[in-house]
């Protein structure tokens, strides 16, 4: 097994683990850190699977989009944007 395959297996394994933790956690806001781990693992997998310069943008766009969604979900649970 070479290094790239091993890194991909680690990312995919952690993504699967994070998915299980998301499903098992009942509190929506406490799901979000696990979702964050899943986003890390998927963004890493995108770069490992597609080593092309545009993949940097794809991985970053995926990751930032996912972060923004988590941000929006958490802000909604906190009562919207009235504090900002």
């Amino acid at each position: 097994m070479n290094t790239d395959e091993a890194a991909l297996i680690i990312c995919a394994g952690i993504a699967a683990y994070a998915t299980v933790r998301i499903l098992l956690e009942k509190n929506t806001l406490r799901k979000l850190p696990f979702l964050n781990v899943l986003s890390f693992a998927v963004a890493g997998s995108i770069a490992l699977l597609l080593p092309h310069p545009l993949s940097i943008i794809a991985a970053a766009a995926y990751f930032i989009g996912s972060t923004l969604e988590s941000n929006a979900i958490a802000s909604t649970y906190a009562g919207g944007i009235r504090e900002e």
């Binding site: 490992l48 310069p53 940097i56 930032i64 504090e83």
Partner: protein
């Protein structure tokens, strides 16, 4: 190149130290940057964790911080060397602005990580090991136990201010 588990563990430790140090310098545990981060911290505290550790975890969830910078810089260096890492830092900067984060932890983390990953590649480490290492590093903070991770981060936050 054959896989060396020790390299991946060293990469994970280096990534962990890089992002935790930069996040502490940029005072992520001090307060929630957005209302969502404050709410996540409150929920983690309700579940038995600590508030300041929860703020840092909430901030990591709510905007690309130094951990995201480290991951994306490792991806950038893996694909395109130092220019790839710089591009990743630029994208993290844009991401911070999109997420209403006024800070520079993500951009700084990405720039530091670019040179760390490149430096380690000269020592025989593959940037792919840093991608896996950073995913392991974020797993230890966000993915195992919010209670213990927030307590650890609170202890580090107290030390960093002492």
């Amino acid at each position: 190149m054959m896989v060396d588990p020790l390299h991946i563990l060293i990469a994970a430790a280096v990534s962990w130290i890089n992002f935790v140090t930069i996040d502490l310098i940029f005072r992520l545990p001090q307060q929630g940057g957005v209302s969502g981060a404050r709410e996540i911290a409150r929920q983690i505290e309700d579940g038995g964790g600590t508030l300041h550790g929860g703020y840092m975890m909430g901030n990591i969830v709510s905007s690309p911080d130094a951990s995201a910078g480290t991951l994306l810089a490792a991806c950038g260096v893996y694909i395109a060397g130092i220019p790839g890492g710089i591009l990743a830092a630029l994208l993290v900067y844009v991401g911070n602005r999109i997420c209403h984060d006024p800070g520079y932890a993500g951009t700084t983390g990405a720039l530091f990580a670019t040179f760390i990953v490149y430096g380690f590649s000269l020592l025989g480490f593959s940037p792919a090991e840093f991608i896996a290492g950073m995913v392991i590093a974020i797993l230890t903070i966000q993915g195992i136990s919010a209670v213990y991770a927030s307590r650890l981060l609170s202890i580090l936050w107290r030390w960093s201010r002492a």
